[in-house]
Each structure stands twice: as C-alpha cells, then as structure tokens.
C-alpha cells in the first residue's frame, strides 16, 4: 500500500520508518526544502496550494494523511475529494488551526476546558479579564504551537502591552489553570471504529516546548485514564475520525481540563516507539490503512527527553545504558527539535541514574529537577 503524507518533518520521518516495517510505501509532500522525512523517503517539494501538484501526488495513493496541522483546509478538502481515505478528516484541521473553534467544539461535547472567552476588541479583553481574573492567558486564535502565540497576563497593567503584542489578531482569553501537572493522551481510531488508547503521559515543558515525558504517567489512577479515554471517544465519534489523536490535559485535583488537541502523532507519544507494544506511528498508519490496530500496552516505564537546539555528543548519549537514541537529521537551530532519547525500564526508579545523565546531556537537568 502507498500512503501520502503532507509535511515532512521528524514526525513524518518516524512515520516512514514505522511504515517500512509493514512493507508500506510512504510519499511526502512539503513546501519546506531539506526536510527530515525527505532523507528517508521520496518527497515532493511544492506549495501546499498547488492544485496540479497535489493531484499528481494523490494519484495512486491508498491513503493520505498529514504530520502537521497547518495544512490549508482547502488543500485537505481537495485531497479528501480525491481519496476517501484522507484522514484525520478535514474538519478537525479547521479546529486545530483555531483555538476558539477547537474549544467551542470541545465544550459542545461536554468536555471540560479552562474558561475561555473570544476577544476581538480591547473592550472584550477587559470584560474577559473581569471573568477570568489574574493570571490569565491571552492567545492568538491561529498558528500557535510550542508555546508561541500566547502571553500570560499577571495583573491589570499587563493588558495594554498584551493588546499591542496581539496586534489585531483574533484572540482567545483563557483563565490560567494552576494545574498539578500536564498529561496527554495518545489514542487511535481505525476506519472501522476500533479504538486503542495509550496510557496517559506526564509531560514537562520548558519555555513552552516539551522537554520530558514519563509514561505511563506515575501515580495515574484508572479513573483519570478512563476520563481521558471517554473524552477521546467522544471526539472520535463526533468527527468520524481515523488516525492518531492527541489530547493535552491539565490535571488538577484528580480532574482533567483539555489544554489542546492535535489531530496527529505527537511528541508526547514518541516513547511508544521503544516503550509500547505498537508505536503511535505504526498505529496511525494501521488506522488510516484500515488495518487492525496494535496493542498500546506499555513495555515497562519510559522516559523520553527531547534534544532541543543542539544534539548532545552522540558518543556520550550512546554510552547511557539502555538509551534508545533517535536523531532527525536536522541542522541545529535554537528551539528546534533535533532528536530525542527514550529510556525504558521496569520502573522509573530503575533508570533514575541514566535519566539524570540524559537530562544533563540534554541541558535541562536543573529545569526538570525544579519542575518535577
């Protein structure tokens, strides 16, 4: 079977490596030159709105998917018209690209989120702040990821500056959640409605970028897992979804509030390559190819650490006992995700020494120690 993928970053690269194991052919389409997935699979480099190139790309593909959410919705609709296995379905992309639409959709399904208010005028901002109180988080509705496009307002005086920063973009104001921790759920649904749910993952961010994932999230109750799965199931059913869906939650006093969702494989699911029976990448491909989904069961306890901006010396990484190293073939640039390492052991405690060394090499030991 031939699968087309829009976008060709590291998520696409890891999807290709998972697909090759199953004997699938992967074909990428991106508007970015020198991309990570293009090093391991055939890749068309053309604008994402070039109808002729897209049609040519789609011809002969058994399924089409994407590995980043900023695929133009018109492009998604065009491809979905050419191939009924364009998945996840185009409407979810519109939600992925608009924080307000996404939150309204979640609210319509009865899925709890932080209090949110649409803000288009300065007056609406002030009225919103009266509801949320301080701190509050002002976010652009569109094009935000890895902590970009948002600002925390700590006191009334911050409102003016934030308003200038936002510079006329449509906005959403959210109540600041004093969460206990951030967790995410990676789930997959097949074209036939079959679902699998990975265990909740505990995520630690730095400057808005994921640094560490622990999976299964320590001290996670079956009830919390069940709540997360119920939320995912409702989203799946509402959208006639196929593929992997990731939901990021704030956990607070035993409850979950959705921070955001991503209609794709996700950084917080990278541990599944080495730490689960079936990786999120393989399950995404199985789902959109109408193949049976694989077991999401964890293989022990995993800790995944991102390499951001620079890759630690590879020799030192490979000296860490039992570390599974993944490098994306990307050039170094501040804030860029260049690779990750995953430790798998019978328990987090077993791999504590290795994990500290890994965090030290990745340059975030102090941050993580302070955060966890």
């Amino acid at each position: 079977m031939k699968v087309g993928v829009l976008g060709a970053g590291q998520l696409g690269r890891m999807m290709a490596l998972a697909g090759y194991r199953l004997g699938l052919e992967l074909h990428f389409y991106t508007d970015a030159p020198d991309s990570s997935a293009a090093q391991v699979a055939p890749c068309v480099c053309a604008p994402l709105n070039d109808a002729a190139r897209l049609e040519e790309f789609a011809s002969g593909l058994d399924a089409i998917t994407y590995e980043f959410e900023n695929v133009p919705v018109a492009t998604a609709r065009r491809l979905a018209a050419l191939n009924r296995r364009f998945m996840p379905p185009p409407p979810v992309l519109e939600m992925a690209q608009d924080r307000l639409t996404q939150k309204r959709f979640l609210a319509s399904l009865g899925i709890p989120t932080p209090l949110f208010i649409s803000v288009e005028t300065r007056d609406e901002l002030d009225r919103g702040l009266a509801l949320t109180g301080f701190p509050a988080v002002l976010k652009t509705r569109r094009w935000g990821y890895d902590g970009r496009g948002q600002d925390v307002l700590r006191e009334p005086a911050d409102a003016s500056q934030a308003w200038e920063w936002a510079a006329g973009s449509p906005l959403v104001l959210e109540a600041f959640v004093d969460f206990d921790r951030e967790v995410s759920l990676v789930a997959a649904r097949g074209l036939t409605g079959e679902t699998v749910f990975y265990p909740l993952t505990h995520n630690v961010h730095q400057d808005g970028i994921l640094r560490l994932s622990l999976a299964p999230a320590p001290h996670c109750t079956p009830l919390l897992q069940q709540m997360a799965e119920d939320h995912a199931s409702r989203i799946f059913d509402a959208l006639h979804y196929a593929g992997v869906l990731t939901i990021e939650f704030f956990e607070r006093r035993g409850t979950l509030l959705v921070n955001e969702m991503a209609s794709r494989v996700h950084n917080s699911g990278h541990w599944t390559i080495d730490g689960a029976e079936t990786s999120q990448f393989e399950n995404h491909l199985r789902a959109i190819c109408s193949l049976p989904l694989g077991s999401p069961s964890p293989r022990g306890a995993s800790a995944m650490v991102n390499f951001i901006g620079t890759v630690p010396e590879v020799r030192s990484l490979l000296e860490i006992p039992g570390l599974h190293v993944h490098l994306y073939g990307k050039s170094a640039r501040p804030g860029r995700k260049l690779g990750h390492g995953t430790l798998c052991a019978t328990s987090i405690e077993t791999s504590r020494t290795s994990l500290e060394r890994l965090l030290e090499l990745a340059g975030c030991l102090e941050h993580i120690k302070a955060a966890v």
Copy 2:
C-alpha cells in the same frame, strides 16, 4: 555519517531503518535490480566488480560494510584500500565463501567443529567416509546458504550419486552431528575492541531455511553462553574484527560445535529489533562507525517466525496481540524470505497461544510442533 552497504536485501533494509534512527545516511550498492533496501534508501545498481562505479560509490563514505557474504574478495580489498573502515575485514569474506577455509580457521583457534575432511577426488570421498562413518554430509566448499550445496549420505550406496551431484566442485565432507538443537550467537565488536554478546538463540529450520528462533534459548546454561562467547572472542581477536558476527552451533550434550559462521547481521538475530535493548542492526552500525555499542540485553522472551515463499494475510497477522510484523517489500517466490514476525513476552509460555497462531499463519505449525 554516511555508511555504504554492499548488497541491498532485507538485511540491508533493516540496517537502513536502524541507521536512520541514529541520523546516519545509508547508501547501497547491489548488482540485483528491485532490491528490498532500494525501497528505503539510495541504491546504486551495478556489477560488483565495476572498479569505477565502486570508487565513485566509496567516495565520501565514513564506513563501508556488506549484508551478504558473496561480495567478491577483490571488491572487498579494493574498497578496504579506499576506506580503512571497510568492515568486517576482507579476510573473513574469504572464509565465508569457502567452508573448508572457514573450518580450518576455526580449528586453528581451537574452536570445535564437526569432523571435516577436504574432498577433491572420488578416492578422497571414500577415504573420508571411512573416517566419518554414516550418515555424513557432503558440501560444496563455495556458495552454499539456506541449505543449498549440501547432501546427506546415509549409506555407502549414496556416495556415487552424491559424487555425480557435486560434479567436480571442491568439497568438504563432514561427520553428521546428531545434535540436540541448533543455537546461534550474535555478537558485535567495535573498532576499539569493545564487544557485546546477545543471548544464545534456539533456531529451528525447515528444508534448510530458518523458520523459528526462540531467544534467549530456553534452558540455556550460563556455561553454554560463556563457551559461545569465548569462541566468538577468539574469532574477533584473530581477525581484528569490527561489526556483527554470527556463529551457528550444534548443541550436543552441553557442548557446542560450530556449524558455520557469518560475518554479518543474521536472520537468527532479527528478534533483537523488538526483543533486545539494542538491535543487531544498530549495533553493527555502531561498531563500524566507532560508536559505543548498545546493550544486548533481552527485553523478555522473544519468538521470531519467518514468512517464507508467501506472506500470510497481513490483517490476520496484525490481529495477533503484541506481534511485531516486519515485511520486506519483496515479491513472493517459493523459498524466499519475505518477512518475519516477532512476539515478545515475559516468558515463552505467556505468548504460546499467539505463537501457535503465528506459526499456523506462517504455514509451519505442524513442522515446528514435530521439531521442538
């Protein structure tokens, strides 16, 4: 780093997938069109003795290796002259290509093999049979794999027919070993002399082709493992070896006799992709790239089953809980290795039901039940 690989079959394909994880570039060179690795990495298709193409291929590579033993020795020497990281070293290829040279080398290191006798004349065959008795195994010295190029002589009357079959090839006659089971050791040595040894694997063949591997080999004593590692160490040191080495043994009453060795990654090590901390493919690349070797520790008990001649229906395979499926993108042909599946569990017993289903789909349940 850029690694060149001679040969582009499924071993090369799996090596590429392991290399990509580490951010390596893999380049293949083969004389066979439509090869498995060419689907996942750049591949030159040219004769293996084309000096100009080989030189062009070698330029800019950090290391060169091979994934099949029938690389012409002259080609290996030419490439080794161009790149000091041509590994495993050329002399081991000569041994791989000549059963007699290989057995003499092993004997020179004090490593036990079945009794063997060089046979070039009919008279030598008869004198040899007087030493080995019956049954005995007559093998061509060159170009034998997967059970080809050999014949079992069960009684004196078989000698004439075997002699005709051999048709003037240089031969080696071996005493038939009434072994308890066949086991193999996959080991790796780095350029700096560092070594790692995977646990012994129990292998079951059918018509000379590997069908099932169980790893770690059940009921294997530490003494047996140590004997196997000692043999491998002696071979490593004698050859200034870098890369993966596989030794196939006959186990008989608690001792090991070498059946043959392969200077490459090996089918009996496929379980390491899913069932060991570091796969044989990754450790081979680490070894020849002068990177630290990874842990060979098993992750539970693995059972690997080959798909030979035809691939079972993929849907049925993927329905087996916890099965790791690997397909090579090759067209079906009798006797051809097209893929494999690996089950990993806390013990072989835990995965017995899944294993029986897997063997049934692979068409070898009856054979394996009779053999184990």
